[in-house]
């Protein structure tokens, strides 16, 4: 823990300016993750800029039939919004499967996707972690990998000492639903406003595991837009975890699907708990598109998606179980969404 300055500017523009001016500044929204990191020494900012009362706390209708969610809308409020419950059940379900009632009451729409991995080594400053301390190595290789990635990781066992190694997963449930819904992220930064497709917001570790997203320093999420879904689309979120509540996903599935004449007409799938980012399952989507809506098709689609999956060995047997688990969870989710299949 180290002292930091705290600012509560009068506008979003001022907040962006304040953070941009201080290289070691961070935005504070609900604080459910950042405050822990301040205590643990994982985050050591010079300046904390509070935006909780600056960004919008409204859910509004968009002209195209979609909705815009202000960045300060809490997870509880969003899950309770009638439009979300009726049109985007996958999102309502994902929100309600996350954390606890108390946490959802303060966690925000802008903050939730920017929460950081719960990798136990990332959260422990006495261990090596490329994400927390670039170049220090990765303690998760051969360690406690139960909550770690199987997708978007190298085909061979990663090198614990290499600076690019990171097998962490993104922990958010909401983000998995947003990835499946083709949400758009409204961002304000020092260079002005821009829109980032939600599926492009998070990144794979690449050569810099310390960066979770494509946002530049000083860029702030102001809202998240949900496009309208075609008629006849059904959606659901299935989270599988070790404990019935208040636990991160071992694997999770967000599925949005429409069936016409027994064929898969529209399908969007995102997976959680399996990669450094909410994992849009494009291979599975391609394999399903136009195919008969049957369990056999679903199995084949999952197999296509997981062909490149790489289990991480580790304590208590590693995380190889995620591959059969994900297969079962995804097939069951699609099956339950398409009872006519």
């Amino acid at each position: 823990m180290k002292p930091f300055a705290y600012a509560r500017p009068g506008s979003v523009a001022e907040a962006v300016r304040d953070v941009t001016a201080e290289p070691n500044a961070v935005f504070l929204a609900g604080g459910t993750n950042l405050v822990d990191h301040l205590k643990l020494g994982v985050a050591r900012p010079e300046l904390v800029v509070d935006v909780r009362t600056l960004t919008s706390r409204e859910v509004s209708d968009l002209p195209d039939g979609g909705i815009r969610v202000g960045a300060s809308v809490t997870n509880s409020e969003l899950a309770a919004d009638r439009r979300v419950r009726e049109r985007y059940p996958v999102l309502a379900q994902a929100l309600l499967s996350g954390a606890t009632g108390q946490l959802r009451n303060v966690a925000t729409t802008g903050g939730n996707p920017l929460q950081r991995t719960r990798c136990v080594y990332f959260q422990d400053v006495t261990t090596a972690c490329n994400k927390r301390e670039p170049g220090s190595g990765c303690s998760a290789v051969g360690g406690y990998t139960r909550y770690h990635a199987v997708l978007g990781v190298p085909a061979a066992l990663p090198d614990a000492t290499a600076p690019e190694t990171c097998t962490a997963t993104h922990p958010s449930d909401m983000a998995v639903a947003l990835a499946a819904l083709d949400a758009q992220v409204q961002v304000l930064g020092p260079a002005g406003a821009r829109t980032v497709p939600f599926v492009d917001l998070h990144r794979l570790p690449g050569d810099d595991p310390s960066r979770d997203t494509v946002l530049e320093h000083g860029e702030l999420i102001t809202a998240i837009d949900l496009p309208p879904l075609p008629a006849g689309v059904r959606s659901a979120y299935r989270k599988v975890r070790d404990r019935a509540s208040y636990a991160f996903a071992l694997v999770s599935v967000a599925a949005v699907v429409a069936v016409e004449d027994g064929q898969v007409a529209d399908v969007r799938i995102a997976l959680g708990g399996v990669a450094h980012k909410p994992w849009r399952a494009t291979r599975a989507e391609q394999a399903l598109s136009g195919r008969p809506a049957t369990v056999d098709s679903y199995r084949a689609a999952v197999a296509a998606e997981l062909a490149g999956a790489q289990p991480q060995p580790g304590i208590d047997g590693g995380n190889g179980f995620k591959i059969p688990l994900l297969t079962r969870a995804l097939v069951a989710t699609l099956r339950d969404l398409t009872p006519e299949a």
């Binding site: 823990m1 180290k2 002292p3 205590k39 020494g41 719960r118 136990v120 080594y121 959260q123 422990d124 006495t126 261990t127 303690s139 051969g142 360690g143 406690y144 139960r146 599988v240 975890r241 070790d242 404990r243 019935a244 509540s245 208040y246 636990a247 991160f248 071992l250 304590i315 208590d316 047997g317 179980f321 059969p324 688990l325 079962r328 969870a329 097939v331 069951a332």
Partner: protein, 694 residues
């Protein structure tokens, strides 16, 4: 035999006397003690698992405005006794486990203390560490005695010969994980050293044992030290003996005389400094005839201890007395490792030790095609197999039968029964816990302002002592409970034993009864204001001719999701025969709490040991899962109206621990019934079931 107190207040469903204060937040816990100008301490912990501290640079810490003192192994006072190496804080440059205390900062605010502690630079001469428990180690050793003082190994008859000759045999290895007690209230102390007097407001399961340890370590006389602890936010054994944090808080306070110093461990620190339950590896052998009568039972236990201080969990002990068998063996072997100090956790010995054997019995029942309840009944011993003494009372069979009836055991679904998306199974296991009374406790009874006051340095861990001890005192004095006030949790009151081994009520209650009787003998029924009498547990009158135990039966219904292997427990039901129940309300809470902790052990709790760095990887409550409400549906605890004239004047057997014993086995047995998968290594997580799901 004892004449039991006639129960008038005893047995009443009285609400907690301290409940209102707790709900309103006015009950002060150790860290919250209001004191003038408190200072705050924060520990510095070793980041290597073995080695030597070669240097500590405290310059940056000491330069911070508001830092009062920084203590290191090179600057700390020398303690009067370093015999107990867990307590010998900052006495040596040796690092014996990762997380060991190597320094402490005292500062004007808690934030500053933490910042300063972070800025202390420690240089180590790191050496290879050895922290991996395994049955294959060549340095396993037999401890001189187990944690409860019992002998390490026992042998009766010839197990090997019985195994060779028996109609049916079974031999499997079972294991329980490493568990951390994790009371909600962290280990916390407010310490004040002033004018040669020390006051500790400490979260402890026993103010007198706490004081004795501190006096020994610091070379203080008992009249120099006062320990105060009216309320404890859970202990589960982790506050039974003081841990190093108490010595560190005391040392910090002595470094800033006149300033009260507050020290509370963080949740992460509790994973290295506050004790834990060793992982256990249990090799179990059973031999039986075709009717299920045991011909041999054996348990060979391998577990760990820290090199700093030996603690040998008495895991094999329940196998010595639970069932009848002509041949029997129990052994314990320890690996001494570079790990934190393990210690008491709710039902040390019985809790892990009733896992392997109770699952093995279920496996034997399946092999023989005998109902698992019937199998246990067929092996009911007439006398205690360990001592040959008659039981003070043993109603295991009645618990099993009563539980079976309440649970609907006879209508249990067939193996691998499917209900929609869920596979459903039920399981049963036995519970046991020895009835113990400590040798030393004293109470004073006084007539004061028209009421009776009983004083004893007893503890209330949230268990109900503030409420239940008055019930005992009232019946011992023959007055309404409303006319009795009890004062506990302070060394200013007469000496009391630790709240451990489910012995609290048995011991303190006995002292209160003796004091009440003495009071009545001296002052009759019409005392004058200020009349008082003191008396102690009458150890000489303790029955030695019977084997005193509480027994129970645990039933579980488990549902396993056919797609994902997710586990839910819609029903948990326990029936206990644990002597007389003082207060049904607080007792139910104890039983249900124990069963919940047992369920947690079955499904979730697991301190994941990372041997590469020598620490628990998942060292916080986000990652170390404890069962939540959503995991379980209906949890019921029932008890038999058991009358035991041999245990003590109240007829109590102690109920703090038995609830956790056997639960995990019942759950594992239910999982097997539901899925066909026998999980012998806890916890039962979905990945262990996936391969065998439909």
């Amino acid at each position: 035999m004892t004449d039991l107190l006639e129960p008038r207040a005893i047995g009443r469903d009285l609400v907690r006397r301290d409940g209102v204060a707790k709900v309103r937040g006015t009950a002060t816990y150790a860290y919250e003690t209001p004191v003038d100008r408190p200072a705050y301490a924060f520990p510095v912990q070793a980041t290597v698992a073995r080695g030597r501290v070669t240097a500590m640079d405290t310059t940056a810490a000491e330069a911070l405005d508001g830092v009062l003192v920084v203590l290191t192994p090179f600057t700390a006072e020398r303690l009067a006794s370093t015999e107990d190496r867990e307590y010998a804080v900052l006495q040596s440059d040796e690092v014996a486990f990762r997380g060991q205390l190597v320094g402490v900062v005292v500062a004007e605010t808690s934030e500053l203390a933490r910042q300063a502690a972070d800025s202390v630079v420690v240089t180590y001469d790191e050496r290879p560490h050895d922290t991996e428990l395994s049955v294959d180690r060549d340095d396993l050793y037999r401890p001189d005695a187990l944690g409860d003082g019992a002998e390490s190994d026992t042998s009766e008859g010839d197990v090997a010969a019985a195994m060779a000759a028996a109609e049916v045999t079974l031999e499997h290895t079972y294991s329980t994980a490493m568990y951390h007690n994790n009371p909600l209230e962290p280990h916390a102390t407010t310490a004040l050293w002033d004018g040669g007097q020390l006051v500790l407001w400490d979260s402890t399961q026993g103010v007198h044992p706490d004081r004795a340890a501190v006096c020994e370590v610091f070379g203080l006389a008992e009249d120099q030290v006062r320990v105060v602890c009216p309320y404890v936010g859970g202990g589960f054994g982790a506050k039974g003996e003081p841990h190093a944090n108490v010595m560190l808080a005391t040392m910090a306070a002595r470094a800033v005389p006149g300033r009260p110093v507050k020290l509370a461990l963080t949740r992460q620190q509790m994973f290295t400094l506050a004790g834990y339950r060793t992982p256990t590896i249990q090799q179990v052998q059973l031999a039986a005839d075709h009717r299920g009568r045991l011909q041999a039972i054996a348990i060979d236990v391998v577990e760990q201890t820290s090199r700093v201080k030996e603690f040998a969990e008495q895991t094999g002990v329940p196998t010595r007395m639970m069932y009848a068998s002509p041949n029997r063996r129990t052994t314990h072997r320890l690996a001494a490792l570079d790990v934190p100090v393990n210690s008491w956790m709710r039902a040390p010995g019985e809790c892990p030790g009733m896992f392997g054997p109770e699952v093995a019995l279920d496996e034997l029942a399946e092999t023989l095609g005998i109902d698992p309840i019937q199998l246990r009944i067929r092996n009911e011993p007439e006398v205690d197999p360990e001592t040959g003494k008659p039981w003070s009372s043993r109603h295991l069979v009645e618990c099993l039968r009563e539980g079976a009836q309440r649970f609907g055991w006879a209508d249990r679904p067939p193996p691998r029964h499917r209900d929609g998306d869920w596979l459903v199974g039920t399981g049963v296991a036995s519970s046991v816990y020895p009835t113990q009374r400590m040798a030393q406790s004293t109470a004073i009874v006084r007539y004061e302002d028209g009421r009776y006051v009983a004083e004893i340095g007893a503890a209330d861990l949230g268990t109900g002592t503030w409420t239940t001890l008055p019930q005992i005192a009232a019946d011992a004095l023959g007055v309404p409970v409303e006319d009795v006030e009890v004062r506990i949790g302070d060394t200013r009151y007469p000496i009391a034993s630790v709240a451990g081994g489910s012995s609290g009520m048995n011991t303190w209650g006995s002292a209160v009864v003796e004091a009440a009787r003495t009071f009545r003998e001296k002052f009759g029924r019409d005392p004058a204001d200020g009349d008082e009498a003191e008396n102690s547990v009458d150890q000489a009158a303790q029955d030695e001719d019977h084997a005193p135990y509480a027994f129970g039966a645990q039933f579980a219904e488990v549902r396993v999701h056919a797609d994902t292997g997710e586990l839910r427990v819609p029903r948990l039901l326990g029936v206990f025969a644990a002597g007389r129940i003082i207060n049904p309300r607080t007792a139910r809470s104890q039983f249900v709490g124990g069963m919940t902790m047992g369920l947690s052990m079955a499904l979730h709790e697991n301190s994941v040991w990372d041997d590469r760095i020598g620490q628990v990887a998942n060292h916080d409550l986000a990652e170390y899962h404890i069962t939540v409400n959503a995991d379980v549906g209906d949890v019921q605890a029932h008890w038999l109206d058991e009358h035991d004239p041999y245990v003590n004047a109240m007829g109590t057997k102690g109920i703090g621990e038995i609830g956790i014993v056997g639960t995990a086995a019942a759950v594992v047995n239910a999982v097997h019934r539901a899925t066909g998968v026998r999980v012998r290594h806890l916890p039962v997580t979905l990945d262990k079931l996936l391969a065998d799901l439909p």
